[in-house]
Amino acid sequence: MTPTERNLRNGRRLGASLAFPASIIVLMVMVVPIFMLFRYSFNHFDSSVMVEGFTFESYVKFFQDPYYRKVFLNTVGVAAVSTVLALVLGFPVAYFLAKSQSRYKSLFIILLVFPLMVGNVVRAAGWMVILGNAGFVNFVMQWLGVIDQPVRLLYTPLAVVVGTTAIVLPYLILTLQSVLEGIDFSVEEAAQNLGASFPTTFRRIVLPIAAPGVAAGTMLVFILSMNAYATPVLLGGSGITMMAPALYDQITKVSNWPFGSALALVLVTATLIMALLSSWLIHRRYVKTMAS
């Protein structure tokens, strides 16, 4: 072996051993157990204890039980509405930030990152203060005379949608903003120079070029919404049940590992499929043969 080859081999060995400890932990503690969890979904549940085996009964139960079907549809519904809302509300903000030359721009960005850092529980608490029966919205509406009794806003699907949208909106804006910033502004100017008004430029030039980024952002937001735990628990309560809290309860409160794992597998798979689908749809609509 030449010295160069030996150096290379030693380098490779060193590299592998450097990465080893981290890899072992992640593998053993997180990755392998996920597969085990999914294996459990095919086990049998005997009223309070899991029994090894191979059966589809958990899945059958899920698909046949109208309650769990509703839980699933609730989750998809909330996630879909939140995603669309976030897109509609977030795009103008992202565009504003991307085009902004203000020296306060980094402040605006920090203000977006800030809510993401403080945790979903605290943010949900905030929405409870706003939407509760004794909360701010009810107070203002009563004060204005629009209603005389508090309206039930908290513990409804509406509250979960509002809370989820508020949580995912910053992620979307940050993703879109970075995509829009990457678009060469002179391309927009060229379109206007050629006779396109602003709305036309936006529709025919900006959106198609931003499409891959929009697709990625949409996927991210949809996945986050589907997997939400704290927000549905605190803002939905008994008014609406979603998949993540449901599967958590199945495993920790009822100890029904097979059913809980089945719900988890359904959640992960459905989320992945729907996210990829929405991403593909956006690509198709806007992106012609742009294979890079």
Partner: protein
Amino acid sequence: MAKVSLDRLKKQFGASVAVSDFSLEIADGELVAFLGPSGCGKTTTLRMIAGFTEPTAGTIRIGEDDVTNVPVHKRNTGMVFQGYALFPHMTVGENVAFGLEMHKVPSAERDKRIGKVLDMVRMSELRDRYPRQLSGGQQQRVAIARALAIEPRVFLLDEPLSNLDAKLRSEVREEIRALQRRLGLTTIFVTHDQEEALAISDRMAIMHDGKVQQVGFPEVLYEKPANLFVANFLGKMNIFAGHVESPGRFVTENKLALAIEGSGAAATQVGVRPERIILSAEPLGPNAMPGVVDSSVYLGSLIDVRVRLDSGELIGCQLPNSAAAGARPAAPGTRVHACFRAGDCVLFSE
């Protein structure tokens, strides 16, 4: 095609004035170059004409119409951007078609124009390619075709050649000029490269710090620069400071007497272009300044010679690499006379 009239255009950003008091009449079919160093305001002025920037003061007329407040997309000023700004998600053909669609050209006519304009820039075969599949030069031609397809009243080019390599630059420059002449396009060409401006323009406007320094035919600007900035920006110039002692006689600070033409009694500087200076062993003509060759740099087609005059100044001379000059190389240390005519002197009073 139409004429363009700029009347006292001004653009101010906060406290800094990017363009001040720019007035110019561009005739129908004329190619005017805006030339100047970075930050002189040439691109800002171009963008005001296109409509991307609103002037702080002044008006812009295209033909008989005052377009100062007309939005970009209604001005019909076809522009070629420095980075070409081709739509990455559209083919060459679609890029060119876009403007036609915006101007509501019926589709039969549209196809005809696209074909015609792509032929003009010799890009017909690559009609279905995407911009990322094209070289820089090809992208630039598409950009030109796209701007011309809409049959603009004014053709605007913002440093279109600066991203091309040197060889390509002069070729494309010639093509653009030929195209412009053939179509009779009123054109404004922004550049920082003086050779480009000199080669391609009917008239030139040199700008510095937001102000127009001089406007006119290229030869006039070069031979008779209005001020020191133009003199030094266009080519090189040897400057002698001093005063006019009597008509036709200028005395420099180092007591050198120069024969000048004209009665510029207020002149405080005299300039002479390096290529007008002849180096000879014997004095020739009214201005023959004795000195010693200080350095001689071989630049291929010309030879750059520095001569230290006996009176102290260091002047630059440019000798062509001709047979005659080659036979008598000016080696450092040689005693020579730097000779030029009275008519070669340009007077400045700054």
